[in-house]
Symmetry: C2
Subunit: 484 residues, 2 copies
């Protein structure tokens, strides 16, 4: 494709996206296709001869769109948000157009240095501890996901716990990882990947009300493990769990970690970015005193397209110690002089895209002001939904939502727990089939609970009002069909 | 940013990229900035108020471009190519615009099903074994990099070798991994990450001429390990090593693997895509009979922007067994019914972008024909360069290049080895400082060797002719300044 052809087709694609974003609310939020439907509509064999780009766009409309669940729809309230925004899309487009590899500083210095600057900017915006900055002993790095950030943090923690032995000898002792029942599943996955296995993961009890990790239980479990000869490597505290945005008490957990010299990773994948607002700076409580690593996802709630997680460490040395290997074909003067950052040593893959461009574009376009306005809008709308639920006798609010996620249960008088859970699931299915909103679920104390996460860039007050109306209406309609 | 603002700025960015690609040859290939120069030119603090998008583009030109090493420059011959192309850039742009999360089938069915179709298309284009296809027991998946593909293959291999124990009990025995001295460093990194440590990695000798792994040495090392109580988990054979594109004898290695029931992973990160041409189908020799997993990078040489590695397995069961964990908030009817693929269970991260769009766009735009033409152009030009080197008494060709990478050494009569190596390095630095071409180096049998990889979409005959002229000229000029 020549540059002039690119110019022409590029405009077509930009127009396609502008039209898509302008009309996204006209699609059903959740795709209604059956397994195999999209696959069957596509040719089984690749084309022998090239096709015009218009054919790609036509098939996107005709075949793929019905198979898309529209995460940017204003009625998307499922999982957590996965914000896209204009400046992020364009920042990523610039990255694709430049097509540089940022594995080493020397392979494109601007790719590394802009990343250092923007992760420091983000640390500044969130009010993170000064020692997380790259010009101190720490440093931030863009990862593809919180899963990878947790894995990398665990590898650094193992490196420190083993005094460097893990990189050489492997998992030669009973290293252990501490989570709660509410910790994201990526921590267990990281433990499996790192060779600890599920058996190396200790699940610490939570407070049954708040679902936050109980630091006293952690203290007991840790002491017992140490007495039995285990080597505790890392504790993961979560600020805003995936299930219900429970907030683990970081400072109290950190105190226990300090007693045993255990690495404290704080996973704030969803919630952390809310600290752009001064009124949510309490989310950082304990970080400065206790956290060895911390991560949050601008690609969830901070208007930056996936993939853009940022991981910070208080001390980058064990991270690099765990992951650095330098073959001859990657040696270069800048690396040898120790005067540069090579982010390949801060992550699992070797290669890396120029992802800093999209975060840079987002921060510059919105400014701190614009980012705060986005977070405040979502938190405000979530508080409204929570107040409507709390005031309605047909529903039960799980907890007052600290941020944008509202967890609640429809009530089904006369039904026993298992029947009521089935009715709740059925209600969710009916709502999601309706096409104007999309919810997902979790379980709290064994019971099915609905999750309504307000986080979309396009979501306004009228969308949550409509969603609540529809939830009430479907609940009443379904209730009427049930016995009792 | 409203859709209309996106339309306007999107056109600006498309024009910027079209102009950049049209004029990329006017930049010095390798950035000449010093460490810290870009960082110092950027504001230390993020903006409080939003800025116009034009300010981002202006700073891209003014501050960032001097810090870019231009991987799409026709004179870029370093490392391996990292092809960008118009249709790939636009496919990725569509992915950003849609902003969907493909972690589960249900979170956007088209994201999963298009991926299944395009990786099957690619298997077809490359002539890969039928059992690698998703409708058989195997299946392909897009990973971010060959590093991640190797790690995931190793985790699947450990799962099989341990009979499922690793996910539960962790690394509880002496699992071992077999590579050669020429295997990519990501394999040692994967072994470290997976808890085997460097001590779990056995480096098998290579043939000193071809630098290919010696299967008889592998047989000896494996047998010795087994006798000593180790549990061999995986052998990695490489088709086209990073250093010199050496080709390990996959079938002979596979025979040894079969004797011991060891997982064979074939890493063809750079070379594998050349099999789009029937005359390079020999690159697949042994795959169908012996390989448990195989991976190649369309993001290197197949015109698809980073990140796009494809990993195939002959049997997806151990892969999913190693990586699948299902928390309540991700449960859904389609997954429970077992009727769909959830690619989150085929990779380290949970979240995933809609990367299939770019590979789909590339295959449709170029067709099989166009992809073959690109590979043939590069291999033909590399053969020309090799013939010029072989015919010049001032240079020594390492081996006849099988594909697009030419390895060679300038000769420095009168200098001893260490001095000659320093002169070779100096020559490379002078050439790279000149700005019209970019080379990297490796070591073969202890000696510094230059690598000239012909792989760029924009690279034509005149660019390699000019490069060769300049290499000869600089070599002569530097020779004249040396004693002897």
């Amino acid at each position: 494709m020549t540059p002039e052809e690119f110019r022409r087709h590029g405009r077509q694609v930009v127009d396609w996206i502008a039209d898509y974003l302008a009309g996204v609310a006209s699609h059903p939020v959740m795709s209604q296709v059956k397994p195999g439907e999209i696959r069957d509509a596509l040719p089984a064999r690749p084309p022998e001869r090239g096709e015009p780009f218009e054919a790609v766009l036509a098939d996107l409309d005709r075949i793929l769109l019905p198979g898309i669940t529209h995460w940017q729809h204003p009625g998307f309230f499922g999982y957590f948000p996965s914000n896209a925004s204009g400046p992020a899309i364009l920042g990523d487009l610039l990255s694709s157009g430049l097509g540089v590899q940022g594995m080493l500083w020397v392979t494109s210095p601007a790719c590394t240095e802009l990343e250092t600057v923007v992760v420091d900017w983000l640390a500044d915006l969130l009010g993170l501890p000064a020692h997380f900055r790259t010009d101190a002993r720490g440093g931030g790095v863009i990862q593809d996901s919180a899963s990878s950030a947790c894995l990398v943090a665990l590898l650094a923690a193992l490196h420190r716990a083993g005094g460097g032995r893990v990189a050489v000898e492997g998992i030669d002792r009973r290293y252990t990882l501490y989570v709660s029942s509410q910790t994201h599943s990526s921590l267990e996955k990281a433990a499996r990947i790192a060779g600890l296995g599920a058996a190396g993961v200790r699940v610490v009890d939570v407070d049954p009300g708040t679902l936050a990790m109980d630091p006293e239980r952690l203290r007991t479990v840790l002491a017992k493990d140490v007495a039995a000869g285990a080597v505790p490597a890392m504790v993961c505290a979560t600020v805003g769990t995936t299930s219900t945005t429970a907030i683990d008490p970081v400072a109290a957990i950190g105190e226990v970690c300090r007693e045993h010299g255990v690495w404290l990773h704080v996973d704030a994948a969803y919630a952390g970015v809310a600290a752009v607002c001064p009124e949510f700076r309490w989310l950082n409580d304990g970080l400065g005193e206790y956290a060895d690593s911390y991560s949050t996802n601008p690609h969830k709630w901070l208007l930056t397209n996936f993939d853009c997680n940022v991981l910070w460490t208080a001390d980058r040395t064990p991270l690099i110690g765990a992951l650095s290997i330098l073959p001859e074909y990657l040696t270069n003067a800048a690396t040898s002089a120790g005067s540069v950052v090579d982010y390949r040593d801060w992550q699992v893959p070797l290669g890396r895209r120029f992802r800093a461009l999209k975060l840079w574009s987002v921060i510059r376009w919105y400014g701190a002001e614009g980012l705060r306005a986005h977070i405040r809008k979502c938190v405000g709308l979530a508080a409204d939904v929570a107040s409507w639920i709390a005031a309605d006798p047909g529903f039960e609010l799980h907890e007052q939502p600290p941020l944008g996620l509202v967890c609640f249960r429809p009530l089904w008088p006369g039904l026993v727990a298992a029947e009521a859970d089935r009715a709740t699931t059925r209600l969710m299915e009916l709502l999601n089939a309706g096409g104007s909103l999309y919810l997902t679920h979790t379980r709290v104390a064994g019971r099915v609970v609905l999750r309504l996460a307000v986080g979309g860039a396009a979501t306004e007050r009228r969308h949550v009002e409509q969603a609540w109306e529809q939830i009430r209406w479907e609940h009443a309609a379904l209730s009427a069909t049930l016995p009792g």
